[in-house]
């Protein structure tokens, strides 16, 4: 097919070569129908390119314009819950203190956190998890027969399975990667050597949190809540009073929010698995 001669690009400066490689990461994510990161877009010119690429990509595959039926149903549930519980969403219960974890033994330690620990009965926050949670009974046992209760932070137990979501190498200390299972969207984070899974859904109104490596937090783009890598609100007023401010913010976040949902995590070989609900 190379009947028309393609002009050879002139020699690239090293920074241009870097830009091309970096931007390729944006395109790879986009063309895989994944979520591209603003980190791979350097400036306004590239942002224009990114937008052009997004429009091209959407136009090229008309089927992709159809929403996923499961998504439509999940959002309906979320809205119904928010509609019914809008008062409780606006005044969420206070953040409960977490029991102190034993000291880590090895370099990597896995928290025995629970499947779907929900503070305020799911409310708007559960997002992708909501469907899974609503079809599960409370108080069931894990497939191996052991009860899978959380440490009292409110929970949903039920049937599920271990989904491989990342490799350990993907999450060096201080790193985080997004994952998505049929029932759950979240991050695998490495909090100074401790690998943990956190929901990517803000417990306020259900917006998707973004990882900020500089602040080691998950930031909500909607109203500015920040959650630390343990899943607790990092910039809330109470914490602000106790610790004298949050470096990532000029102001305290006004509302107390429940912690993020923390599914159980295990590591086998090089794989990180997250316990996720059957949908």
């Amino acid at each position: 097919m190379a009947d028309e001669r393609v002009p050879e690009p002139r020699e690239l400066r090293p920074d241009e070569a870097d830009a091309v490689e970096r931007f390729e990461r944006y395109l790879d994510a986009l063309l895989a129908d994944g979520r591209p990161s603003p980190e791979d877009v350097a400036d306004v010119d590239e942002a224009e390119m990114a937008r052009t690429a997004a429009e091209l990509s959407a136009a090229a595959v008309p089927e992709s314009l159809e929403p996923d039926a499961a998504f439509v149903e999940q959002l309906r549930l979320r809205m119904r819950q928010a509609d019914q519980g809008i008062a409780s969403v606006q005044v969420p219960p206070p953040v409960r203190p977490r029991p102190v974890e034993p000291e880590p033994r090895g370099r990597l330690r896995i928290t025995r956190r629970q499947l779907l620990g929900t503070g305020l009965a799911g409310a708007a926050g559960l997002a992708a998890g909501a469907l899974g949670a609503s079809v599960l009974g409370v108080g069931r046992n894990a497939p191996d027969g052991t009860p899978i209760w959380d440490d009292g932070s409110g929970l949903v137990a039920g049937q599920g399975f271990w989904a491989p979501v990342a490799s350990v190498a993907d999450v060096p200390p201080g790193g985080a990667v997004r994952f998505s299972t049929a029932a759950f969207d979240g991050y695998v984070v490495n909090d100074a050597g401790e690998i943990r899974a956190l929901s990517s859904v803000c417990t306020h109104m259900g917006c998707t949190l973004h990882f900020r490596p500089d602040w080691q937090d998950l930031r909500c783009p909607c109203h500015g809540a920040s959650f630390d890598l343990k899943g607790d609100l990092a910039n809330g007023r109470d914490r602000w009073r106790q610790t004298g401010g949050y470096r990532g913010d000029a102001h305290a976040y006004d509302v107390a929010l429940p912690p993020l949902v923390r599914p159980k995590v295990k590591i086998e070989g090089d794989q990180v698995f997250v316990w996720t609900a059957q949908v």
Binding site: M1, A2, E4, V6, E8, P9, L12, A19, V20, E21, F23, E24, L27, L30, D33, G34, R35, P36, P38, V44, D45, A47, E48, M49, A50, R51, T52, A53, A54, E55, L56, S57, A58, A59, A60, V61, P62, S64, L65, E66, P67, D68, F71, V72, L75, R76, M79, R80, A82, D83, I86, S180, M205, G206, C207, T208, H210, P221, C222, H223
Partner: protein, 175 residues
């Protein structure tokens, strides 16, 4: 209460698919399209007055969607977020578009963007149009694109980068 909720779900059922398509066409990927669609309807639960007439409701939904899309891209342009709650504090009748214009955004979105893409490709130099066609329309990988065009993988990436830059400039000129 029950009646109002029923009405709300009616609105959701009627508009969730067109709103999703509208957003997808502008952000180009499923995870972001789902997030933004969710933001629009969660905002609607808080703010939308379901007693308004259909045209005003449609206008409201598209306006909030446009704001959500704009905020999405602000992150890429490194601009401060405005936040949908500030842009769309509620009903501002003067700012609401005529319902016809908004409703038109509904259905033929896919067609219109397809035509735009074709006209864009036609105005690019042939090798630029070709690399974008292979990568975006035929969904080939960089390596496959390079093979198809008889160039190296590195050159295919560079070509694609420049083609997008040129396309973005043409697109800007279009408005």
């Amino acid at each position: 209460m029950t009646a109002a909720r029923g009405r709300f779900e009616e609105i959701y059922d009627a508009h969730v698919v067109p709103i999703y398509r509208f957003i997808y066409a502008r952000v180009g990927n499923r995870p972001d399209a789902e997030d933004l669609t969710a933001q629009v309807f969660m905002r609607a639960v808080e703010q939308l007055d379901t007693e308004r007439d259909e045209g005003q409701i449609v206008s409201w939904l598209y306006r909030v969607s446009q704001n959500a899309i704009a905020d999405h891209w602000r992150a890429f342009y490194r601009l401060p977020l405005v936040g949908t709650e500030q842009v769309a504090p509620g009903w501002e009748p003067a700012a609401v578009e005529p319902s016809g214009a908004a409703a038109e955004a509904d259905a033929p979105d896919a067609d219109r963007s397809h035509i735009r893409v074709q006209s864009l490709l036609h105005r690019l130099p042939a090798h630029y149009a070709r690399v974008l066609e292979l990568r975006f329309l035929q969904r080939l990988s960089v390596a496959e694109t390079a093979d198809e065009m008889g160039i190296t993988r590195g050159n295919a990436k560079v070509l694609q980068y420049r083609a997008l830059r040129k396309a973005a400039l043409l697109g800007e000129a279009d408005g």
